[in-house]
Symmetry: C2
Subunit: 255 residues, 2 copies
DNA sequence: CGGGAACTTGATCTCGGTCAATATTGGTGG
DNA sequence: CCACCAATATTGACCGAGATCAAGTTCCCG
């Protein structure tokens, strides 16, 4: 049936194909990048932190914490992927961030309660810290406080990028951006890079990008017909044309 | 002409009118709220900070810094309103945040350059600090580092909220949310509260909410016809029905 | 294998974008 | 103080991307 008469007006959208882009980025999780003042929340302090809580494990699709629950613990991910999300009264859900190795999650808080829910997308290993003790530690150690500021700053950077994605990009561009983002995430963990594993269902990608699952699916189909992606099974992609993918994605960091 | 046959299907969107909402919130700029561990970036330290730079002044519509420029200074707003925004190659613009009294702006950075542009919406008075010296101060003082973490955390909270707004709310809900947000902002500064001054043009509100200026205008018209708002001149509104406004806005903090 | 969840695809509808006139309005100078 | 005018906002007509509703299809996972 239809093979190639679906096309995206790349031209109508920008002269960006002539612009420099798609340069390889520095690792997204390297510390001290955003504010430049901080040492990482690294193994040096991990001993301290472990003393506050300890290592725990969650199965795929398990909730680590839920929005509205009293905040007891915050978590530092060792392995795995966690999504933070919020749900409206009527069931509309927004995924506000994808967290992985090295990220803190569980804050910000809202009057002593979790503001978001955290759900394990894969098997997750994380350190859990009592929030009060963590706060005390932060308040007493400049390097911890800086590491926290830095972690938060990186989240803010990505949230701001996603604001641009949601506010300005059309559906296929958003999905392209998502693939680039997941690629960077996985690259930073040195896993699942070639057949790039997505770990999110179409519904979840939709809830992340402000689209319906059908539109996400159609966007993947378009990217496939454009020979930018190939779908590998249902939860992975192969990037066939990285340049055009990045052009569509309009990533801020390649500018 | 048409007076009342424009209506919003509130019912189709939620049972939220029955839910508790619209409670008055604690001041949005009160410090230490998000992480609970930090002292504010307050006048105690302001002496230190002033020594690093000094007070400066910008006229309405003046740019304080521009995305891509080498980052020299960061700013702490004393009075006025600043919007931070990013522009795509093709002219699409996203406003990623509205900053006001007490907020820091100018970071995060992107390889030593500003990631966003900062534009004064009103006359702005701010302290400008050399970034390097500021970093050094932060690295040397726990309370400064905590204050920075806290400022960043509040920005993240608001950015995450706006992700939900952009991803899940329809146009009129987004505009309602914007009005609530500006209301909280102005309330925290104890100015422009009754005829609530917006300070943003329809185009800017559109660039903030991911809508066109026409859709923003139509949304205001709808809110007027619903007797939720009255427009006062072109840049201010009177809130006639706070309860329904909050219901439409789906603010997370009233949940 | 078999069954159920996840995905794809199609048809249709609608909200918001686009293009195009007006209509306000607020700032400026006479 | 008023008249003018450029900038901003409103409104209308039309269109299209994405939502919605509805089958089918594929893919896992037991």
């Amino acid at each position: 049936m239809k093979t190639e008469h679906i096309e995206i007006r790349e031209d109508s959208r920008a002269s960006l194909s002539q612009l420099p882009h798609a340069r390889k980025l520095p690792c997204d999780t390297c510390p001290g990048r955003s504010l430049g003042v901080c040492s990482p929340l690294d193994d040096l302090r991990l001993a301290h932190l472990l003393a506050l809580g300890g290592r725990r494990h969650w199965a795929k699709r398990e909730f680590i914490y839920r929005a509205g629950d009293p905040m007891q613990m915050i978590y530092k991910i060792i392995t795995g992927i966690v999504v933070e999300s919020r749900m409206l009264y009527d069931g509309r859900r927004q995924i506000v961030g994808i967290r992985t190795t090295g990220d803190l999650c569980g804050y910000p808080e809202n009057r002593g309660r979790y503001l978001f829910s955290g759900e394990a997308l894969t098997e997750v290993e994380a350190c859990a810290f009592d929030k009060r003790k963590f706060d005390a530690l932060v308040a007493g150690h400049v390097d911890m406080a800086c590491a926290l500021a830095d972690d938060t700053s990186r989240k803010l950077e990505r949230a701001s990028e996603n604001l641009t994605v949601m506010g300005q990009l059309i559906s296929t561009e958003r999905v392209a951006h998502f693939v680039v983002e997941i690629g960077e995430l996985n690259a930073s963990r040195q896993i699942d890079t070639d057949p790039l594993k997505l770990h999110l269902t179409r519904q979840e990608i939709g809830d992340y990008l402000g689209l319906t699952l059908e539109t996400v699916s159609r966007s993947f189909t378009r990217l496939r017909h454009l020979r930018i992606l190939a779908l590998v099974g249902t939860d992975a992609v192969a990037i066939l044309d990285r340049k055009r993918l990045h052009a569509l994605a309009h990533t801020s960091r390649s500018a």
